[in-house]
Symmetry: C2
Subunit: 385 residues, 2 copies
């Protein structure tokens, strides 16, 4: 269907720097960070009341470029399948916003940004940030865009944690929320996988305690970190379907070169990541994930107390990195707090990656959910629904 396969045409990343005093953000750690720039993109148009805004929140290695094409680039944004005319997040109806998280390396202030106090990149002088800090920064952007209330906040994995944080930090600023393939807190297994990635980066002598800017990056360490990640994003079944035990065509003569297709894939993914991601950002952002614990000393029934937003929780059967039981726990927390929550577990074999790949079912779920949210909502222009 043409209406579903259309993409937004050329898009440009925009930048917003907190311009009002005190020009900085009080972080959860107690430190302060500023000035802060957020890279962001928007798709579709705001209606008169700006009541059709959807905030999309990206995962660990994502960025502000969620949909459409950058000039001269053949690859669309990371969630182009979901954002566009007639798509799950229909840009003919909604004003879709996506910003790069703080701590990132795609235009938002992060460890590779210039520290105004030293005129050098922050490196490890960058303060520890949390999911809550990321969301607080996004709140500044939303205010800047003049949006009173978001129609929905949606994201998978780390994006889903930001959704949960919006539900807790700014319950009155959201009409609905869609946390996908995520968790109320990081488990020790999730922490452990992140820690292995960090150890791989820090073991690389090119890391130099974070001071590698202007020099060679810790490419080998970051590649190993990404390889570990990729295994956890797939599933036993999806790897077997995709690679089996096939050997590569050009078997290398070297010992411990590439034998199997799965090895080739991992190396390719690892090497590719190094070209587009900053190792220090990887350290900071994984740490933010590991610190994430929305309980924060509360009982499960208190977490979402008073939240009026409707919630759609989506999980995937073969996701073993953020297993379905963690999404069920989110639903439980919602129900115990009297929140209107729906749970959908998609029967996918893709593993955690499913949140980016199971487009058809996710589209239907999100479309239908947003219709339900809009029913009876006065804020939206009649012709927008």
């Amino acid at each position: 269907m043409t209406e579903c396969s259309e993409s937004i045409e050329t898009v440009e990343t925009k930048y917003f720097t907190f311009a009002n005093p005190p020009n900085e953000l009080a972080l959860e750690s107690g430190e302060k960070l500023g000035p802060i720039t957020l890279a962001y993109e928007t798709y579709g148009k705001p209606n008169k009341q700006k009541s059709n805004a959807v905030l999309v929140l990206h995962a660990l290695s994502g960025d502000a470029h969620a949909a459409g094409f950058h000039k001269g680039d053949k690859n669309p944004g990371w969630w182009d399948v979901m954002i566009g005319p007639g798509k799950g997040l229909d840009t003919e109806k909604y004003f879709v916003i996506c910003s790069n998280v703080i701590g990132g390396c795609k235009g938002s202030t992060g460890p590779s940004s210039i520290n105004p106090k030293t005129n050098k990149p922050y490196a490890l002088e960058f303060p520890i940030i949390t999911i809550k800090d990321m969301v607080n920064a996004q709140r500044h952007l939303i205010d800047h865009l003049g949006i009173e209330k978001l129609l929905t906040v949606v994201g998978g994995s780390m994006g889903g944690m930001q959704v949960l944080q919006w539900m807790v930090s700014y319950p009155d600023k959201i009409l609905s929320a869609i946390p996908v393939a995520t968790a109320l807190k990081h488990t020790p297994q999730q922490i452990a996988f992140d820690e292995v990635g960090r150890q791989a980066i820090m073991a690389d002598p090119d890391w130099k305690n974070g001071n590698y800017y202007g020099d060679l990056p810790p490419a080998k360490g970051l590649a190993v970190a990404r390889m570990v990640g990729h295994i956890t994003y797939m599933s036993d079944v999806s790897m077997t379907e995709k690679f089996g035990r096939r050997f590569t065509v050009n078997k290398q003569p070297l010992k411990f070169g590439v034998d199997f297709e799965v090895e080739q894939y991992l190396r390719y993914r690892g090497d590719n990541f190094v070209k587009r991601f900053d190792a220090n950002s990887y350290l900071y952002i994984t740490k933010a994930n590991d610190y994430f614990n929305i309980f924060n000393g509360k009982n499960i029934n208190e977490i979402f107390k008073g939240l009026k937003a409707k919630v759609l929780v989506i999980a995937f059967k073969s996701d073993w990195l953020y297993p379905a039981y963690q999404s069920q726990e989110i639903v439980r927390a919602c129900k115990l707090a009297g929140v209107d929550a729906t749970y959908c577990e998609i029967n996918s074999t893709y593993g955690h990656d499913a949140f980016l790949l199971e487009v058809e079912e996710e589209t239907l779920l999100i479309k239908h959910f947003l219709k339900t949210v809009l029913n009876g909502y006065e804020g939206l222009d009649k012709n927008d629904a």
Copy 2:
């Protein structure tokens, strides 16, 4: 019960070097390796007919020291809970043998051994070895010990692959077999985890293409490899039970130092491993695992054709590295070939590590199984059974 808690007292590792011409082993790769030394230990005594011999096969990081204590060492062998007077492998009844695999670093010929052609350590001159090669070397040891037929061959994980290889390579040399927590072939996910470990080692500049002997070993890379391994040996549940989200008492002031107990545990395990294991052995042995595919072009019903040995297959519910479905596939291959096979799935939360930890149930299963095997078997002295 005192009879079950007894350990074998002091034991010594023995060494056997293939002494007969051609003094070398024809490897599966086509290359030849020799002379070969195998480090091995024995517990209990052979009976007159030497018909009470049990061959124990170790996993990736194991060695010949399966039970009892080395002089001055407070730590017993790696499967001491299973081998000893009155234990699952009762040394008052059985003559238990365990040898270090070729390619290893605990006394058997491996990449850190001296290459007689160069008088230097083999390093990457060491030929690629397979599980079949390991078993062929063990066969030499068994012949050397004058054993006609093994009462059983038993091992978990990579040890289990050797068990399966014994079932295929030397079906007439075994009366029974106990493959534990293992698989007929390595899946792409299993290969992928091994490959990440190898990449971590090879990314360490101290690896020097394998030529680090006499110098600093690639300690950081090997530690990262071991950390990845440890995550896969545990389970989501066992990690949550063991560590939760507890912070370490002495929170380090450094950024990206140890925050959580699970991180401390992984670092400890990683650093500890470096002291006792050779990085090149890690490369060779994981590669042997990844090449393992007992199908070898055969249909599943042909793999164990003609095997008369009784088989006990043991799996663990929470083992996601070698999931139970892989053990069920072993049983299926046995049944389709008319082999007398029993399947037991132990309801453990320990993950893959369960094969070393679920002692009580494993002991009962193995004891009972060996009794069944001995019933009607003429080879054993009456007073041994």
